[in-house]
């Protein structure tokens, strides 16, 4: 089993995020302090249900206009100026939720206003109008690896000379629809997530998150040097028991590190089997490299997690200190799991990974000059 890496390197001209803890600087500060944005919240919001760990920017019940629009306007205010949505400066919108929660609101009150943003394209179209983008808006949706695909696709557009800059935009906001779905799978339960912790019961948290990155062929000092993607297609939700999918993308990126000293920001949602396979895969291909997950604080921001966590990783590197795996204490699946913050000064690259349903794996290499 193998995954070839995408050789298309791209410079990060800008990258920012918004989480319930604030922008990437505030989020980093909270993570370094070991603070969690997760709190036990009724799984169906105002309609009640079991308490589950959610990290929200406000009540998750559906609103008109959708509750994600105001935070996204706030985030968009930080975008560099550009002719976004044109052929030379296209936008790639990535999400797994888009506005799907509004469909459940429609089934309750039959208000057609909920439908204006219920499908991926409709949500992207609403954004396009609100933010004044042109028609060149790519819409990608591959569950929790979506943001990685957007970043990889941006690299390809730049490499082919078809774009001068590419804006990758991600957003995922929790709704009763989504929380109820994960609750039905029993992985969203009453326990707080502890990524990579060797404990008896696994659990995840879900979180609101949004982020963007502007990529250009040149620029720096930070670059996305390589991407590796792989789809196991072994099971709808489970992974191959031998961890082959995790190993495939880790090996492809390891082959590209070129002797750099790396730290690893893993996917680490808090599920047991996937967490163990991921930690073991990284320990095999990056022995000794500290492995962290931040979903024990931010929750899982689903299709946006790759970009939200990239923004936090960049902030960490600039600040010289990376947060540990908030919410996790020993024993952990491997010795590489870092539960405490550590200085980034001794490293020249970071490996950032996300995984998704269908055994989808995405890993990228972040470097800096």
């Amino acid at each position: 089993m193998s995954a070839s890496h995408d050789p298309f390197s791209a410079g990060l001209e800008a990258c920012a995020c918004l989480t319930p803890l604030g922008d990437e600087q505030a989020t980093l500060a909270a993570l370094l302090a070991g603070r969690s944005a997760l709190s036990l919240t009724p799984v169906l919001g105002a309609q009640g249900g079991d308490p589950v760990p959610l990290a929200l920017m406000g009540p998750m019940d559906e609103t008109q206009p959708p509750r994600w629009l105001a935070p996204l306007r706030q985030l968009a205010a930080r975008l560099p100026a550009g002719a976004w949505g044109t052929a030379r400066e296209p936008v790639i919108v990535t999400s797994s939720n888009f506005g799907v929660g509004s469909l459940y609101a429609f089934t309750r009150d039959r208000d057609p206003a909920h439908l204006t943003h219920g499908t991926p394209w409709a949500a992207a179209e609403l954004l396009r109008r609100e933010l004044g983008w042109g028609p060149q808006i790519h819409v990608l949706s591959h569950a929790c690896v979506t943001a990685h695909l957007g970043l990889a696709q941006a690299g390809r557009l730049l490499q082919a000379g078809l774009a001068d800059r590419v804006l990758v935009w991600s957003f995922d906001f929790v709704s009763p629809f989504v929380a109820g779905g994960f609750h039905s799978l029993k992985i969203l339960n009453g326990a707080m997530p502890a990524p990579y912790a060797a404990r008896e019961t696994g659990s995840i948290g879900l979180g609101d998150g949004a982020a963007f990155a502007v990529l250009a062929r040149e620029g720096g000092p930070f670059r996305l040097e390589a991407h590796a993607l792989y789809n196991e297609m072994h099971h709808f939700t489970g992974n191959q028991p031998d961890g082959g999918g995790f190993a495939a993308t880790a090996a492809a990126i390891a082959a590209r590190t070129g002797g750099r000293r790396v730290w690893v920001k893993g996917h680490g949602t808090g599920t047991l089997e996937a967490g163990r396979l991921e930690a073991e895969g990284f320990a095999r291909h990056f022995p000794g490299a500290p492995l962290v997950s931040w979903k024990g604080s931010l929750g899982h921001t689903l299709g946006s997690c790759g970009l939200v966590e990239l923004a936090v990783a960049l902030a960490a590197w600039r600040a010289g200190r990376a947060p540990g795996t908030v919410g996790t204490v020993a024993p952990t699946f491997t010795a590489e799991v870092a539960t405490e913050a550590f200085p980034t000064g001794g490293y020249d690259a970071a490996v950032l990974a996300s995984n998704a349903f269908g055994g989808a794996h995405a890993t990228m290499l972040l470097t800096h000059d």
Binding site: S4, P90, L103, H138, V139, L140, G181, L185
Partner: protein, 219 residues
């Protein structure tokens, strides 16, 4: 110019009102019996157009659908808040093509699921042309909705298509070409359904968009 050669094409255009149960009877022989019971209408149509085609682990697949797993989504919502884990899984993009590939235990290097509308065909072809894989499967389709269709949130007609785009010209039946042109305006590309019909009829298509001029031609 960036170009790929079409080595295979297949289109499913069942009657507008065909149900998933009817498709199961019509197409069931193409699938493992254990898998077909749980497949959606869109999954069955995609499996049919990919019948006999086996993506290799280093191949890539571009998956284009605006509405995706409409019926699973409708049924999940109808049952909510007693959420069905099976329907939840099935409703998640890109469930249609995953049903087929998981059923075959067919790993794939890269899967690009696109979910736009107006420029979906253009973006799917652009994604395919940018793929370094020797063979790229471009697959798309929709299934007919019920209450979401009444609200303009679903397709009215079920259909699916698959084409294999390769670097190899030998044996090709068609060609996809994109010529960058800074002066090219964004014209409206064919919709996914119109594109499927054009593939079925082997019609040449041209338009401008994404900073260039497009041509799908048959050899």
């Amino acid at each position: 110019m960036i170009e790929r050669y079409i080595q295979y094409v297949a289109v499913e255009r069942p009657p507008e009102l065909e149900t998933a149960a009817e498709a199961r009877v019509r197409l069931g022989a193409k699938f493992p019996r254990t898998a077909v019971r749980r497949m959606t209408h869109l999954g069955l149509l995609i499996g049919s157009v990919l019948d006999g085609q086996t993506p290799g682990p280093e191949d890539a697949l571009v998956y284009a659908t605006t509405y995706a797993e409409t019926r699973a989504l409708e049924d999940y919502l109808t049952g909510f808040p007693a959420a069905s884990p099976l329907l939840f899984q099935t409703s998640i993009h890109p469930g249609g093509v995953q049903q087929v590939l998981v059923g075959r235990q067919q790993p794939l290097a890269r899967l690009w699921p696109l979910a736009g509308r107006t420029r979906l065909v253009e973006q799917a072809l652009l994604t395919a042309l940018l793929e370094p894989a020797a063979r790229v499967f471009v697959v798309g389709g929709e299934e007919r909705g019920t209450w979401m269709l009444e609200q303009g949130m679903a397709a009215a007609r079920p259909f699916a298509f698959a084409l294999v785009a390769a670097r190899e010209a030998a044996g090709a039946i068609g060609r996809v070409a994109f010529v960058p042109d800074a002066a090219a305006k964004d014209e409206v590309p064919p919709s996914l359904e119109v594109f499927a019909d054009a593939l079925a009829r082997r019609e040449n298509i041209t338009w401008s968009g994404a900073g260039g001029n497009w041509a799908v031609t048959w050899l």
